[in-house]
């Protein structure tokens, strides 16, 4: 019997499809992790069979490998190259357009993106922490971002607590994982034979009420707790948990910045995969007939020359200054601007750096007390 007061319960593995059905019934398009081109990416789910059954992922600095095994688990991996960022802060999108009449008058129209209610399955604790930061940046401000807001308000989040962090993960040290604590509508603990499901919102309760959940046994709770404890132990990398602003700004001339620059490609992959990086540039695309023009934005990176260009002068002309800008902002400036570090410990910038630069090691080298 469905019960409105149920806040948690056990969902047998074979019933996961019912969750997707319930979400679809509420009008949500379901998105979840799928394997594509050698990586886990969020894509539309037609059914549970699209989820990555028996997939493990090996991640190390500059390397990411999807491996298939005989296991039946669906969420037995850490993360893919992108968190929720592209679903909300689109890599490229139209902001406004303008039409010009024959006598030169201009008519501007703001664009509101088309967006459907979307449920994302398999969201990680680090992704939620990053989402909270992006919300702060794009929405909790005097002039909230229209495009981001439209999508954000239609998002339903099904988190899955992480049981197999990658070698590159360090969310324990940033305080953001491996378990989701808030910001989700539902959260799952994956066990061998099913999921402990718990609601985190009124909308989550509505979905929960439609599932035939069983009571959670003490054994199941213990298994979930053990898996979390193990996930904590598996993490060896860490960023110092404290506010690094003063230490980083006290070391602006540290020789290690230059040392990193000799290895860094300045390609911006780290900023592209970072779930909290928000820089974008605006660009114009006029119609050839000059009767209308479109104004877009697209992801930018502090690793480009254009990022710091002011009429004829580039504030950050070289890689040393760009890497230093990224790190001092992410780990320093963010504390003042957003009340916490801009790093959530997801490790993407380490794995997806083509040359394997490791933020945790570079920070240690720069902030280490002089010998």
């Amino acid at each position: 019997m469905p019960n409105d007061n149920i806040a948690s319960g056990f969902l047998p593995g074979q019933d996961l499809a019912l969750l997707l059905t319930a979400l679809a019934g509420q009008g949500y398009r379901c998105i979840g992790p799928t394997v594509r081109d050698g990586a886990l990416v969020y894509d539309s789910l037609d059914g549970v069979e699209d989820l990555p059954s028996g997939v493990h992922i090996q991640q190390s600095p500059g390397s990411y490998r999807v491996e298939f095994n005989q296991g039946k688990r669906l969420f037995d991996w850490a993360n893919g190259p992108q968190a929720l960022k592209p679903l909300l802060f689109a890599p490229r999108e139209l902001l406004w357009q303008v039409e010009r009449s024959a006598d030169g008058q201009l008519r501007f129209t703001q664009q509101t993106p088309e967006s459907a209610p979307t449920a994302v399955i398999g969201v990680r604790a680090c992704d939620l922490a990053a989402l909270e930061l992006q919300d702060r940046h794009f929405l909790e401000t005097e002039i909230p971002d229209n495009c981001y807001g439209v999508r954000r308000h239609q998002l339903f989040l099904v988190a899955v607590n992480c049981t197999r962090p990658a070698e590159t993960c360090f969310c324990v040290s940033t305080g953001d994982g491996p378990s989701a604590r808030h910001g989700y509508d539902l959260v799952l603990d994956e066990l061998d034979d099913g999921f402990i499901v718990q609601s985190g919102s009124a909308r989550g309760n509505e979905i929960l009420a439609q599932l035939e959940l069983q009571p959670v046994s003490a054994q199941q709770r213990n298994a979930a707790a053990d898996a979390t404890a193990q996930a904590v132990d598996m993490q060896s990398r860490q960023l110092p948990g404290r506010n690094l602003r003063d230490q980083l700004f006290a070391n602006l001339d540290h020789p290690h910045w230059e040392e990193v620059a000799t290895r860094c490609l300045s390609c911006g992959n780290c900023t592209s995969v970072c779930p909290t990086c928000f820089c974008y540039r605006e660009l114009e695309q006029p119609a050839l007939d000059r009767e209308s023009s479109r104004h877009y934005r697209e992801w930018d990176s502090c690793f480009t020359q254009g990022h710091s260009y002011i009429h004829g002068f580039v504030v950050r002309p070289d890689t040393r200054l760009r890497y230093r800008q990224w790190l001092t902002h992410k780990l320093g400036g963010w504390h003042d601007q957003y009340g916490r570090s801009g790093c959530v410990g997801c490790g993407r910038c380490i794995a997806w750096c083509p040359v394997g630069i490791d933020i945790t090691k570079e920070v240690s080298a720069i902030t280490a007390p002089p010998e």
Partner: protein, 258 residues
């Protein structure tokens, strides 16, 4: 008065001119907006016409071409080179790396009939170039962006970021990281839409060097991925051998093989 436009061809495969012909409906609009004085592949022929904008495809490899490019420069207010050949020599500039006299003697029965310059050079080696559009070939989007700016009376915006940003915006997973493929994306200028990584291949570098390309850092990483010096040299020299940054990294690896 409509702006007068010419499209000229030098040593090249004609592929960049196709970026005009492939514009579809925009091509008809373009022909209405501008006065196309010379564009042999599309019809109008008047190579010495005085024009506001010349688009130049191809590199300079013969004495005749050298004379012709100087004429084109003199008869054009604004000169845009299009494609790898025009901006950085292109494939045919590979002969600058070899003993081309020896090759000619081996291939042709009467090599004395062949009249070429000692080396194949980008257009900018001989005349002032106002803007360069990189790519092998350039694409229609680049051409439209440049033409759009010129028609608006402003200098076109230069694209010089690396392919990587474009690749990530397309939602591609990095092929170097996921497949250990050597990819020229980090040192190559964007504009192509990250075509090759989009089909799980490493970038071939056909758009030439991006702004401050870290070529040595990347070449060193390629070595770690098991690439030989010769393979690395081929990556850097294939399309834009006369682009200085690619030339020095590629050439130095050829020498070390000797």
């Amino acid at each position: 008065m409509k702006p007068r436009v010419a499209v000229h061809k030098f040593s090249s495969c004609d592929g960049c001119q196709l970026a005009f012909l492939n514009l579809g409906e925009d091509l008809l609009t373009l022909f209405e907006l501008v006065d196309v004085r010379h564009f042999a592949e599309a019809g109008p022929v008047d190579p010495s016409a005085e024009v506001d904008i010349s688009f130049v495809e191809g590199s300079i490899s013969t004495p005749d071409e050298l004379e012709r490019i100087r004429q084109v420069r003199n008869s054009s207010k604004y000169l845009v080179t299009i494609g790898a050949c025009a901006v950085a020599g292109g494939l045919q500039a590979l002969r600058n790396l070899a003993d081309s006299g020896e090759w000619m003697a081996a291939v042709y029965a009467s090599p004395e009939y062949i009249d070429t310059l000692g080396s194949v050079e980008p257009v900018s080696e001989y005349v002032k170039v106002d803007m360069e559009l990189w790519g092998c070939p350039v694409n229609s989007r680049q051409l439209l962006a440049a033409i759009g700016s010129l028609l608006a009376g402003v200098v076109p915006r230069e694209e010089h970021d690396s392919v990587c940003l474009e690749c990530k915006r397309q939602g591609q997973a990095c092929v170097m990281v996921a497949h250990s493929l050597p990819c020229m994306g980090p040192v190559t200028r964007s504009g192509c839409g990250a075509l090759c990584p989009g089909v799980n291949r490493g970038c071939y570098g056909c758009y030439g060097p991006c702004e401050k390309p870290p070529t040595e850092v990347l070449a060193h990483w390629f070595t770690g991925l098991g690439q030989s010096d010769e393979q690395i040299a081929q990556r850097f020299l294939a399309f834009t051998p006369e682009a200085p940054a690619f030339y020095s990294t590629g050439r130095s690896r050829l020498t070390s093989d000797d």
